[in-house]
């Protein structure tokens, strides 16, 4: 197809404008995070002069470092837990034969249509009664099992050729050997996709960490930001924006790294 240069230029311009509009809030945020308080108070959207004081303050005069660390621990361990439990469950569903397998799978699937928001009241009571409020366990435990992850792993395990299973049977591989030497290497891409996705979701969790914490002991970065905002209303936009930017860096990294996985993995896991 021949497209004229004018047309091409026009399309490119549209794309650039779209991008600018879409990312405008982010640009404003970054710009404010680099501005001084006076510059912001005067209503300037661009910094009078670039300064990194706000970033320094985020790490020195707020609890953000602590909150980031908490978020890392929780997101990381929930991710590991979800990946392991999903692989285990999917392995059972795909490679093992046992009674009531189908029923078990339907039960698993049914959890995907039960909104977590409708379960927070009893879950809060459970955590309170177990004396777990304000612990990592309180925030992470409810999410260790993932129906979505199990479903996604199951779909990708099903792509493994039967011949590889048969080969492994002939060679006498144990289930553990088959899982680690065949299944996991073969579905590496899906596993990585799910792991990245899981980390992202855990990092951005909001409602439950808000409910499950009443002090700063294990508070996550999202709730930390919420706190920061209510403490420093309007007065210190630069600091808040700097904190936001810091909190979003890990997730943006994941998005950039995993973009090609996400498009494939998520549509495969969900749609098919």
């Amino acid at each position: 197809m021949q497209t004229s240069n004018v047309k091409k230029g026009f399309r490119l311009a549209t794309l650039i404008v779209l991008t600018l509009l879409l990312l405008l809030p982010l640009f404003v945020g970054i710009s404010l995070s680099l501005s001084s308080s006076q510059s912001i108070a005067q209503g300037h959207l661009l910094p009078d002069h670039l300064e990194f004081a706000n970033y320094v303050k985020v790490f020195t005069s707020t609890s953000m470092t602590k909150f980031l660390w908490h978020s890392f621990i929780i997101s990381g361990s929930v991710m590991i837990g979800q990946v392991i439990l999903s692989i285990m469950a999917a392995y059972a569903f795909v490679f093992l034969e046992f009674r009531f397998k189908k029923a078990a799978f339907i039960l698993f699937l049914s959890t995907m249509m039960l909104p977590f928001e409708a379960q927070i009241i009893p879950n809060f009571a459970t955590m309170r009664d177990l004396n777990l409020l304000n612990t990592y366990a309180a925030i992470g435990l409810p999410f260790l099992a993932s129906a979505f992850g199990t479903f996604m792993m199951k779909t990708s395990f099903e792509q493994i050729p039967t011949a590889l299973k048969q080969l492994s049977d002939i060679e006498g591989l144990s289930h553990f050997q088959f899982a680690t030497r065949v299944v996991m290497p073969y579905t590496k891409v899906s596993i990585i996709t799910f792991a990245l996705y899981s980390f992202l979701t855990n990092w951005n969790m909001y409602l439950w960490p808000l409910i499950a914490t009443t002090n700063d002991n294990v508070r996550t970065v999202q709730i930390g930001l919420r706190q920061l905002r209510s403490q420093d209303t309007a007065s210190n936009w630069g600091l808040i924006m700097a904190a936001i930017i810091v909190s979003v860096i890990p997730t943006l990294l994941i998005i950039f790294l995993g973009q090609k996985y996400f498009k494939k993995g998520l549509t495969n896991g969900v749609i098919k």
């Binding site: 779209l18 439990l85 999903s86 459970t126 409602l207 936001i244 973009q259």
Partner: protein, 300 residues
């Protein structure tokens, strides 16, 4: 022989259940049990600690439907869900179409377009909080520039919902865009080549090829966005706290308020049950349509 199959399955049964056990323990304690408990609590009169006092049948529900605040929040939720889903879909689709062109550097745009996917609800809300700020925010600057009267977005009953919708759409665009882009790129190019031979216009191509070919994905994105919209919480919490005067009191925020601020657990549980029913309904519609259209998906 029967024996053969028994022999084959005997040792797998134990292993199978063993592998499922950890997941089932977690799901049992943190999904199935609380779900049943919520249904149970929705039929109970509860004390300030959330303990059930006595069975009152559907009283909590009938109270809800006669309560002004709930009816407001329910109506507002429906309006919110409708507009945020519609806008997300239309904008994401336009973005996906423009990002599916073959232009130098398109990969950069694709990454940019999908980047809001990684932005948390807190970050999005705080960014937009500034945008809506009546003194120094972006929009107030634009209004001043256009010589229009100032709007106090977050404390105006109508505009506050618009603000929440805007923030939500912005947040959801990345995910919807990425999925739709995948679907558009999967359309076989020869379909367009045939259309070009027939001299079809841009609009014709869109109506006859692009949209029909991506309709299963459009449907999927719609349902997922819809379900997410029903579960909206963070934007409300940060931007408006449900105000002004319950005008942005979306369902989940109402549940949260009733349960953890007003300590009226029975009422909160009843609303949770309503939320559950709505979400189950949409999920089942999606399952049903997916299975019916199975053949279409297989071609993707």
């Amino acid at each position: 022989m029967k024996k053969a199959s028994n022999l084959k399955f005997r040792n797998e049964s134990a292993l199978g259940w063993l592998l499922l056990l950890p997941s089932f323990i977690i799901l049992g304690i943190f999904v199935f049990y609380p779900m049943l408990k919520t249904f149970f609590l929705s039929t109970q009169l509860t004390d300030l600690m959330g303990n059930p006092i006595k069975f009152i049948g559907f009283k909590n529900f009938s109270n809800l439907f006669t309560s002004d605040s709930f009816m407001t929040s329910f109506t507002i939720t429906l309006i919110f869900v409708f507009f945020s889903t519609l806008l997300t879909l239309v904008m994401a689709y336009l973005m996906a179409m423009s990002a599916s062109q073959k232009i130098m550097g398109i990969a950069v745009f694709r990454t940019m377009f999908s980047s809001t996917m990684g932005v948390s609800v807190t970050v999005a809300s705080i960014l937009w909080l500034f945008m809506f700020n009546p003194q120094i925010g972006m929009f107030s600057k634009i209004l001043t520039f256009l010589h229009l009267p100032q709007i106090n977005f977050l404390s105006d009953p109508t505009w506050s919902l618009v603000a929440i919708i805007g923030t939500t759409v912005w947040m959801n665009l990345g995910f919807a865009f990425l999925i739709l882009l995948g679907a558009i790129q999967a359309i076989p190019q020869d379909l367009y080549q045939v259309a070009d031979l027939d001299g079809a216009s841009w609009l014709m191509r869109l109506r006859k090829i692009t949209i029909p070919a991506t309709s299963p994905t459009i449907f999927f994105v719609t349902v997922v966005t819809l379900i997410n919209a029903f579960q909206t919480f963070g934007q409300v919490d940060i931007l408006t706290s449900g105000g002004p005067d319950y005008h942005t009191n979306l369902l989940v925020y109402a549940i949260y308020q009733d349960a953890f601020v007003n300590h009226s657990v029975g009422r909160a549980s009843a609303q949770s049950v309503i939320l559950t029913i709505i979400i189950m309904l949409f999920t089942m519609i999606q399952f049903y349509v997916k299975n019916r259209k199975g053949a279409n998906y297989a071609n993707e």
